[in-house]
């Protein structure tokens, strides 16, 4: 489904733009999670095959011709892993944001540039 793929890329770009343009640390993390969602949609849509069902081989699917009836399971598998990893990264990022805020009372990324050159 090409629209899903386009949607995925669109979200990816929106997220990146958000990361590049927003000053607020939480907004940047939101941008990052939108990028993640975009990538996940891209992955799933790559595994999509027309007019097929989910790769769950219960009574709906003819076991003998299963391979002709289901969508590609691999992208789903990858996305499952990617989602959990994305959660972990996002959670860690937010923890950093909270800790940073405790140190300096600011959420603006411009306030954290004492390390340079």
């Amino acid at each position: 489904m090409i629209f899903a793929l386009i949607l995925g890329f669109a979200l990816l770009l929106i997220g990146i733009y958000g990361m590049l343009s927003q000053k607020n640390l939480i907004k940047i993390v939101i941008g990052f999670s939108i990028v993640d969602t975009g990538v996940h949609i891209i992955i799933v849509s790559i595994g999509y095959l027309r007019n097929r069902t989910a790769p769950i081989l219960n009574s709906v699917v003819d076991l003998g011709k299963a391979a002709q009836q289901v969508v590609d399971p691999i992208p789903s598998v990858l996305v499952l892993t990617a989602i959990v990893i994305g959660l972990a990264v996002t959670a860690l990022m937010l923890t950093f944001v909270v800790e940073l805020y405790k140190k300096r009372n600011s959420l603006s990324i411009d306030d954290y540039q004492e390390l340079k050159w």
């Binding site: 990617a82 860690l92 990022m93 950093f96 940073l100 411009d110 004492e114």
Partner: protein
């Protein structure tokens, strides 16, 4: 034999259960923690032994009971086990380094650390792309969290930037993985081939590669990494800089087969850009950890470039392993060491590192790490660079070649500067904290491994002749006996030099013999003067012997490689010797920068060299090959730096003057001759093979300019050692010209001059050392009238300057006579004119020296001064005897030189009794001696007769008026002695070359300042850099 998957299993089990273990006390959890890390090391070491020594074939580990591509498989082979061995070892050692921290901090830190190491193991072993992503995330998340092991504002904000950048990079990697899957239908590297990707399919590969490449911190998309290096705990940074990078570079290595050639070229270029620019920016850096960060980034760029390039060219496995492996080990060990040391020193400015002097063993380890990181022999980085240069030249990749050499120079510059600050900056009364054994232990282990690999490469890869180890043996040996008294060590050193000469030197009439006399016998004699030292610091004789053996080995080196490593050994030793001087911080850095620049020219030149038969010393075999013009030019430049020729002479006054006084003779009379030796080496090939281009004509001009400029510069010096330094420059100019003549007579005069210069410079410098030792100053106007107090030194200097200036009757006259003869014979009249003029100028400075120091009025404070110590006088006497002998009986030297040079040219002189006849005339040294003695005897007798009579003086002759001017120094005749000449000729001595090099250095500095502006410190800007970088690379590659 333990299945390597147990590393992952055990680490995970321990990781999951550590918090439970911790309930039983931190001791228990720490025990588990360290046991698992140790277990990892042993498992991998065992496998490495199997692959490397027993030749077991690569191991594939399937999971889940299925084989690839259905399931994820791991692979452990020679390369994997090699990388993992280092990674696990560094993991264990850094954990030991951090033990104090781990005892105090939350149990989570242990878990994170353990799993980080597990992630590295998995990342290196896995063959599945998506699994790589998972392990990459494991590695990243644990690293992100560990960045705040010491939690402060800086490490937090650095950690956040790191996370964002890492997140973006891994997003691209994941996109790459999925598109690679889409196009190839597989995730396992064994089943994906580069043929699966055509046209836009390549974007998938591109995304994959760029994701990993960003993780390698390419310039300029690497600001986040530098912040991390600067702010994070040293033990963790050591892991990030070496272990993480090792794993990531290995991932890159694994996906290399998928990349099309054009990617390889572009990525090579990007790696090299990273190398040169990171090092450039590094020179402005004063924070040690950030400095190391720049160096790390640079090294990873170099490593990546070497991987890409060797893959692109399809270089043989062994060579590419030597290059990439060498850079890898070198960076890995040296960087870990330096970060660890930085964590112990805890100073945030490299200028404050002088505190390290309170802990000499650590200072030595620090020095070793710096040398290794600079890519000097015998450390692994050197061999890698050597092979890399050959590959680059072989494939005509000149831009890359020059970029790498310039980058290396910049890197060496800031590292040596750092060492200079550490050893020379003022030491405030601070003391260092007590260093924990757990912190020093990892450092010692890594240094041992560093040496082990270095020697392993030397013996097993290059099978170098045993004598090439002597410089290193010398420094180690002297280190071991450093507890002995200084005088004992001096005698041991002399004995070592004698034994070295006795066993290694061929006695046949050859150039080898001549230089052997200079380098070996000369050194042996000059060492005598150092016996005078009451107390030498540690290492002095070690450095000295290293330099002497390095010089000696040049003569008998059997391959270009052997020649070059000894060249570097001797340079390092010379640097360390200069650095011992009290105010030698700046001169030493100038010296090493110029020397290394010269060495890199030589290195590049060697890259062009055809293979040479490996039988006997290269000085004897070089005639059989034709050296390409380019190699010739590059190497001559390198050699000229060492002999301080015009243009590269600015290191010479500082280095000579600030080196300790009894060390300077080594530099002037022996060390500078190595450049001459190198030029002779090239000239031999030049005359045996028909040259395309008369390079030596121009070299001759350069020599002439050096001679005259050196003489002028010497004339206007107040500092006696600087004066003699410029005099050396001038005299070496003479030698260069006569060698450049490429004629029989020219070479005889050249070699004769060389020998002559060696003797008189050694004795003058020793005499001066004695004078400075007694008077405590180098400024000539602060001395005067010392003839009465130090008559023997006066005689030495007198004989020396007669020999230099080339007036009869001493040997200098003979050499000048030969020189003018050969110049005229060759038809170089203009050059002869220049020399004539230069000789006249040299009278000026020689007169100034002897007059200011020994004649005139004595200073009040010198009235109780004594003659030089006996140890200074002995070598002087030996050299006087030498000079007198060859002056009286020139045939002693002319005859052998005739034979030696006869190997290369047809003879053009006739030697008959005491007569030497050339096409232009004859010279009878013996007769000249008698005649001159007669000429001098007459006025001497007259003077003796009239001396003692009273003299009447006019009223206005203030010399005898006993009036004391207000500022005695400025009215001293020796102060600004030739000011009227200066009005006329001073323009010639304006330090134009000095200002040129100042511009170069300022320019480099401001360039560095310009480029480091991009590191604004803003995390968002860094992401922008990454995105722009990706886009830019994409369009450069034109996918």
């Amino acid at each position: 034999m333990v299945n390597p998957i147990y590393i992952i299993i055990l680490s995970l089990l321990a990781g999951f259960l550590l918090s439970i273990f911790d309930k039983g006390g931190r001791k228990l959890s720490l025990t588990v923690f360290y046991s698992v890390l140790t277990f990892n090391v042993f498992v991998i070491a065992d496998w490495f032994y199997r692959f490397a020594i027993l030749g077991v074939s690569t191991l594939t580990i399937n999971t889940a009971g299925f084989s690839a591509p259905l399931s994820i498989n791991l692979q452990l082979g020679m390369l994997e086990s090699f990388v993992l061995l280092f990674a696990n070892l560094a993991g264990l050692l850094s954990a030991i380094y951090l033990i104090k921290k781990f005892k105090e901090s939350k149990i989570s830190s242990l878990i994170l650390y353990l799993i980080l190491i597990m992630g590295v193991n998995g990342l290196v072993m896995t063959r599945d792309l998506f699994n790589m992503f998972v392990f990459l995330e494991i590695l990243s998340i644990s690293t992100f969290a560990l960045t705040i092991l010491t939690k402060n504002k800086k490490s937090l904000s650095a950690g956040f930037k790191y996370m964002i950048a890492g997140g973006v990079a891994s997003t691209f990697f994941l996109l790459g993985v999925i598109f690679v899957y889409y196009f190839s239908g597989n995730l396992n590297l064994e089943f994906i081939s580069s043929n699966d990707f055509t046209n836009y399919g390549l974007i998938g590969v591109f995304l994959l590669a760029i994701g990993i490449f960003i993780e390698l911190k390419p310039f300029p998309a690497n600001g986040w990494a530098l912040d991390v290096y600067e702010s994070v705990n040293s033990g963790i940074v050591a892991i990030i800089a070496v272990v993480n990078s090792a794993a990531i570079i290995f991932v890159l290595y694994k996906i290399l087969p998928l990349l099309p050639t054009v990617y390889l070229s572009v990525f090579t270029g990007m790696g090299i850009v990273t190398y040169i620019f990171s090092n450039l920016v590094g020179i402005r850096q004063s924070n040690p950890k950030r400095l190391l960060g720049y160096s790390s980034v640079a090294q990873m760029g170099l490593l990546a470039a070497s991987l890409f390039y060797t893959t692109k060219l399809g270089v043989s496995q062994n060579i590419s392993f030597l290059i990439a492996g060498g850079i890898f080990i070198n960076h890995f060990i040296a960087k870990a060491l330096l970060f660890w040391i930085a964590g112990i020193v805890k100073k945030n400015n490299i200028k404050d590192w002088s505190v390290l002097r309170n802990n000499i063993p650590l200072l030595i380890l620090f020095g070793i790490s710096l040398l290794a990181l600079s890519g000097l022999p015998p450390f692994p980085g050197f061999w890698a660079k050597w092979e890399m240069v050959k590959v680059f030249v072989g494939s005509k990749y000149y831009i890359g070649l020059s970029a790498i050499l310039v980058g290396s120079l910049l890197e060496a510059f800031y590292l040596f500067r750092w060492f200079g600050y550490t050893t020379k900056n003022k030491l405030n009364k601070e003391t260092m904290e007590q260093v924990q054994f757990s912190q020093i232990f990892p450092i010692i282990v890594f240094v041992l491994i560093l040496f082990f690999t270095s020697f392993w490469i030397m013996t097993n890869v290059y099978s170098l002749n045993y004598f090439n180890y002597l410089p290193l043996v010398a420094i180690f040996g002297m280190f071991l006996i450093s507890f002995l008294r200084s005088k004992v060590k001096a005698i041991i050193s002399i004995a070592a030099v004698v034994l070295y000469g006795y066993f290694l030197f061929p006695l046949g009439m050859s150039i080898q013999l001549l230089f052997g006399i200079i380098f070996i016998i000369g050194s042996g004699i000059v060492i005598i003067s150092t016996i005078n030292r009451k107390n030498t610091g540690k290492g002095f004789y070690g450095f000295l012997l290293m330099m002497i053996f390095g010089m000696g080995n040049l003569i008998i080196a059997e391959s270009f490689l052997a020649f070059f490593i000894n060249w570097e050994f001797m340079t390092i030793a010379a640097y360390l010797l200069i650095l011992r001087g009290k105010r030698a911080k700046i001169p030493a850095i100038v010296f090493i920068t110029f020397s290394l620049a010269g060495a890199y020219f030589i290195l590049a030149g060697f890259g062009y060299m055809p293979n040479i038969a490996n039988n006997g010393a290269i000085i004897n075999t070089i005639g059989t090959i034709k050296i390409p013009l380019m190699a010739m030019i590059l190497m001559i430049i390198g050699f000229l730096v060492k002999s301080a020729s015009f243009g590269a002479h600015i290191w010479i006054p500082g280095a000579y003057a600030e080196a300790e006084d009894d060390v300077t003779p080594f530099f002037s009379s022996m060390f500078s001759k190595t450049g001459i030796f190198g030029i002779i080496l090239l000239a031999i090939s030049f005359i045996k093979q028909t040259p395309d281009f008369d390079l030596f004509y121009w070299l001759g001009w350069l020599g002439a300019i050096s001679a005259i400029v050196g003489a002028f510069l010497a004339t206007f010096q107040e500092d006696v050692k600087k004066l003699m330094a410029y005099s050396s420059m001038s005299q070496l100019g003479y030698i260069i010209v006569s060698i450049s003549l490429l004629s029989h007579l020219g070479w005889i005069s050249g070699l004769y001059l060389t020998l002559n210069h060696f003797m008189f410079k050694a004795m003058i410098f020793i005499a001066i050392a004695g004078v400075i030792y007694r008077t405590g100053t180098r400024q000539m106007y602060k001395m005067g009238g010392l003839i009465k107090k130090m008559p023997l030194s006066f005689i030495t200097v007198l004989i020396g300057i007669i020999a230099i200036s080339g007036v009869p009757p001493l040997s200098g006259f003979g050499s000048k006579w030969l020189l003018y003869n050969s110049l005229i014979e060759k038809g170089w009249f203009l050059q002869a004119g220049v020399f004539f003029f230069a000789s006249a100028v040299s009278f000026l400075y020689l007169y100034r020296m002897i007059h200011s120091i020994f004649l005139g009025q004595m200073k009040y404070e010198h009235q109780n001064i004594k003659e030089s110590p006996i140890w200074y006088l002995i070598p002087q006497v030996i050299f006087i005897i030498g000079i007198m002998a060859i002056s009286m009986y020139p045939n002693l030297i002319i005859q052998p030189l005739n034979t030696i040079v006869g190997n290369y040219f047809n003879s053009s002189i006739v030697i008959d009794g005491y007569n030497v006849t050339s096409s232009l005339g004859y010279w009878n040294g013996n007769m000249v001696m008698y005649v001159t003695m007669g000429v001098f005897a007459v006025p001497l007798i007259l003077l003796l007769l009239i001396n003692g009579r009273t003299q009447t003086v006019k009223q206005f002759n203030i010399v005898y008026a006993a009036e004391r001017p207000e500022s005695p120094q400025t009215t001293h005749f020796a102060h600004n002695m030739f000011s009227h000449y200066y009005k006329a000729l001073g323009g010639l001595t304006k330090p134009r070359i000095q200002s040129f090099w100042n511009y170069v250095s300022e320019g480099t500095n401001s360039l560095a300042g310009l480029f480091r502006q991009i590191y604004s410190g803003n995390g968002q800007t860094y992401i922008l850099h990454i995105i722009l970088y990706i886009v830019a690379i994409y369009f450069i590659m034109g996918v």
